[in-house]
C-alpha cells in the first residue's frame, strides 16, 4: 500500500469518525478523530496497516486537553498522529491496552501527569510519581504551580 492509498482508505473507512486531516509533510500526517471512535481507528491502524505504536503525548491547552497517538508505518515511512480532543472537566477516554500491551505504561503516565482517566485500563495507578503524591495534583498541567502548598507539604519539604 502506498501513502496515498493508506490516507484514502482511512478517509473512506472512517468517514464519520475523522474530523480533520492535516497533511503536514511527506512523512507526517495529523488526523483529528472523535474520541468515541478511537479504539476502532487504532485497531485498524495497528492490526491491518501493521503500524507500530510510538507513544502518546498529552498536551494541556488550558480549555481542552489533547492526546496525540503516534503510529509509524515503517514500510512507507509515514508517521500518523491521531489527535483526540477532550473537553474539560470530563477527561475520560477508552484505554488502548485491550488492543496492544504497549499502551499500558504511557496511559499510566498520562493519568498521573495530566489527570486523564482511561476507561478499561487493567491497572491504572501511578508510574513515575511517588505513592504519597497528593491525588489531583497533576504536574504537567498548565495550572500546576511548583509552590503548590499542598504538594510541597506532603512531600515533606
Amino acid at each position: 500500500m502506498t501513502r496515498e492509498e493508506v490516507l484514502c482508505d482511512l478517509r473512506k473507512k472512517f468517514k464519520d469518525d475523522v474530523i480533520e486531516v492535516v497533511d503536514k509533510s511527506p512523512k507526517r500526517v495529523y488526523i483529528e478523530i472523535k474520541q468515541e471512535s478511537l479504539v476502532k481507528v487504532v485497531s485498524y491502524i495497528f492490526k491491518d496497516l501493521k503500524a507500530r505504536f510510538n507513544t502518546a503525548s498529552g498536551v494541556d491547552m488550558r480549555n481542552h486537553m489533547e492526546i496525540l497517538y503516534h503510529f509509524l508505518i515503517e514500510d512507507i515511512n509515514l508517521l500518523i498522529s491521531l489527535r483526540v480532543k477532550l473537553q474539560k472537566p470530563k477527561l475520560e477516554i477508552d484505554s488502548l491496552v485491550p488492543v496492544f500491551e504497549g499502551a499500558n505504561w504511557i496511559e499510566r503516565e498520562i493519568y498521573e501527569m495530566l489527570g486523564v482517566n482511561f476507561r478499561g485500563h487493567p491497572n491504572l495507578r501511578k508510574l513515575l510519581l511517588p505513592e504519597e503524591w497528593p491525588g489531583g495534583v497533576c504536574p504537567l498541567r498548565k495550572n500546576y504551580k511548583e509552590w503548590d502548598e499542598n504538594a510541597i507539604r506532603d512531600r515533606g519539604v
Binding site: 510510538n54 498536551v59 509509524l72 505504561w105 504511557i106
Partner: protein, 395 residues
Amino acid sequence: MGKTTIPIGPYHPLQDEPEFFILTVEGEKVLDIEVRIGYNHRGIEKLSEMKTFDQSTFVIERICGICSTSHPFAYTRAVEDIIPIEVPERAKYIRTIIAEGERIHSHLLWLGLAGHFLGYNTVYMWVWKLREEILDVMEILTGNRNSYAMFKPGGIRRDIKSEDIPVVIKKMDSIVPTLEMLKKAFIDDPILHARTKGIGILSKENAINYCALGPTARASGVARDTRKDSPYGAYDKVEWDMIVTYNGDVFDKLVVRILEVFESIKIIKNCFLNLPSGEIDANIKDIPPGEGIGIIEAPRGECFHYVRSDGTNRPVRHKVRAPTFMNLPTCKATVIGEYISDATIILAAIDPCYCCTERMTVCNNIKRKKIYNGKDLIKLSREKTEILRNKMGVK
C-alpha cells in the same frame, strides 16, 4: 510449595540505576514480576517548557549520560520538523559520526555489564578497557567523553578539524582486532552459551504487542531500524547492514549488539571518507507555531521527541519517550517461568538506560582544601584533552 516475594532494588549492587523489581517465586521459578520505576524522575519535560529552544538542547542532553547524543539529536530533528528545514550536508555527516560513536561505546558498555552480571568479569574488564579507546576518540572529536554538546537546532555547534580525521581513523582501525577477539569470546564461549541460550525468550508476537524497539526487537526477528525505515542524517548515503536474529533469547540480543558495533565502525569510516565540505549550521532565526516530531535510532531503540511551539521562544509541550520505556515492560513476557538465577541477566538484556553519569574530580585533603569552580573545571578538562591530543599525535 509456598510463594515467596523477592525484592530486587531500588538500590542493589548489581543495578546501576534505581529500579525496583518485585519477583514472586515458587521454589526457583519466577511466577510473577512487578516493576516500579520513577526513582530517577526529575521532571525534565516540565523543565524544558521553561527554557528557550536553544537552552532546552542542553537540558535534554542531561537526561542520560550514555544517550547524551540520542536525545538532543531527536529533539533538534523535532524542532527542525516544525519549521521545516533541512540541515546542511556536512552537519548531517558529523551528526551521524557522533551518533555512531555513541552507539559503539553504549553497546560495549552493555557487553561488559552482561559479562559482569554473568560472573564473567574477564569479559567485563576487557570490554571496558576497549570502551575507553572509543571515549578517547570522542574526546578528540568533540572535546568531551560524554555530553558532547555538539547539537543545536539547525545544525551542529562545532566542526571537526580535517587534521584530526586520519588519527581517528587509525584509532578506529586499531581497535578492530581486539573487537574480533571479543566477538569470538562472546559467540563461541560454551559458558556464555550455557547461561544465555534459550533464556528469556521474547517471541516475535510479543515484541510487536509490547511495541519493543531496537536490539530487543531485532533479536526477535522484527527487522525494524529507524536508520533504515525512515533515514535521517547520512544513513541513506553510506553502506551498512541491519543486524537481525530470530531466537529472541539473551544470546541473540548479545549477538545483535556485538555485530552492530562492527557496522557502526563501518558507518563512521564511510562518513569520514565521504565527508562533504561546506556550512555546518542552517542559522534558524524564529520557530513558527506548529508541532514537530523527531525520531532517531538510539543505541537501545527508537528515541521519540514531540515538540509543540506557539510562536514564542519556548516550547509549549515537549514529550520525550526513551526506548527503555517501551522495552522494560517486556520483562513480563520474558522473566515469568524462568529460574531466579537467570532473572538478573534477562532483566539486564534489554539494556536498561542509565539516567545519569557523572565525571569525577579529584577530592583534596582536608588541610589544603581547594574548591574548584566552573572555570577551573573547564580549564582542567581542556588540559586533559590537550594531553590526550599530544599522546595520540594530533597537532
